[in-house]
């Protein structure tokens, strides 16, 4: 039997993370993916199962651990693609689902579209009875407060964002 699963936990500096904790999550994700293949599942089953584990970890920037926007709200993106059929599905700026990757798969399998965004995608998640996201973690909210408190347009990467958000009163 052949099969391989590859996962990543995000590119960046990774200065403030516990290496052992992240390694454990990556291993769990890989095992979830490969178990799907061993059970006779497809590559699509494997990547979705692996990604759910990463989303559910709460320590990575996706699913439960997602960071927040300038208003302190969660808006998540996700996508899936099946290389055999050439079909793809994606969701953008969704707030409802705990696992946006599952909703992306539903878009691919149940609709005639490729990308659903915002309230329409959230409505689909609700009507499909997908688990609801509980909201940002304490870690993310703490991070947000730190960023907002030092939201100096000259000192952050997305200076234009911060400048316009401050001008429009969006950073409180």
């Amino acid at each position: 039997m052949n099969g391989v699963v590859v996962v990543h936990a995000g590119a960046g500096t990774w200065r403030f993370f516990n290496r052992d904790e992240v390694t454990k999550v990556i291993k769990s994700s890989l095992r979830a993916g490969i178990e799907a293949l061993k059970r006779g599942g497809t590559a699509l089953d494997a990547v979705v199962n692996a990604t759910i584990v990463l989303e559910d970890s709460g320590i990575l920037n996706a699913g439960l651990g997602s960071v927040v926007d300038a208003l302190g709200r969660l808006t998540m993106d996700a996508g899936v693609m099946d290389g055999y059929t050439g079909r793809a599905g994606a969701v953008a700026a969704v707030t409802y689902p705990k696992n946006p990757v599952v909703l992306a798969r539903k878009v691919m399998e149940l609709t005639d579209h490729i990308i659903l965004s915002g309230s329409g995608a959230d409505e689909l998640a609700f009507r499909l009875n997908l688990p609801k996201h509980p909201g940002p973690t304490e870690r993310v909210l703490k991070l947000y407060k730190e960023y907002v408190s030092k939201a100096d347009p000259t000192s952050v990467r997305f200076a234009k964002n911060v400048k316009i958000a401050k001008e429009l009163g969006m950073l409180d």
Partner: protein, 134 residues
């Protein structure tokens, strides 16, 4: 951002990606993770998933580019390196990373950031391979 690519026993490839985006992003902003060919792509030759600054990944079509290079005959490793090199030439360092697998089952992770924890496992492996920490 997190993501996964896989090859199954029937030779089928797939890609999945999920993200909360960038902290303090403008409300309504959509990144590369929702865009096929940018944040994720798969065909019968390869599958790839990207991570990094979405605004740059959307413009370089990073994952589509990497998989196209596989289709042109490059290995997954060379394709990932070449696609990322092209991306870096446009947008500089600290902007992106990607994982990839081709139809022979060769996995690889490439990044121009300080780190990108990634790993892979094959059906016949006891322990996964993990790499990419700073």
């Amino acid at each position: 951002t997190v993501g996964a690519v896989a090859l199954d026993n029937d030779g089928r490839l797939a890609a999945a990606v999920s993200t909360g985006g960038i902290i303090l992003k403008f409300p309504g902003r959509v990144g590369d993770s929702a865009i096929p060919g940018a944040g994720f792509y798969a065909d019968r030759y390869g599958a790839a998933v990207a991570t990094g600054v979405g605004e740059t990944i959307m413009m370089s079509l990073l994952t589509y580019r990497a998989v196209q290079l596989i289709k042109e005959g490059y290995t997954a490793i060379t394709a990932a390196k070449m696609a990322l090199q092209f991306h870096t030439s446009l947008f500089g360092k600290d902007t992106a990373g990607l994982i990839i697998v081709d139809r022979s089952g060769t996995p690889y992770g490439a990044y121009n950031t300080q780190a990108m924890p990634w790993g892979y496992i094959r059906v016949d492996m006891e322990e996964p391979y993990i790499s990419g920490f700073p």
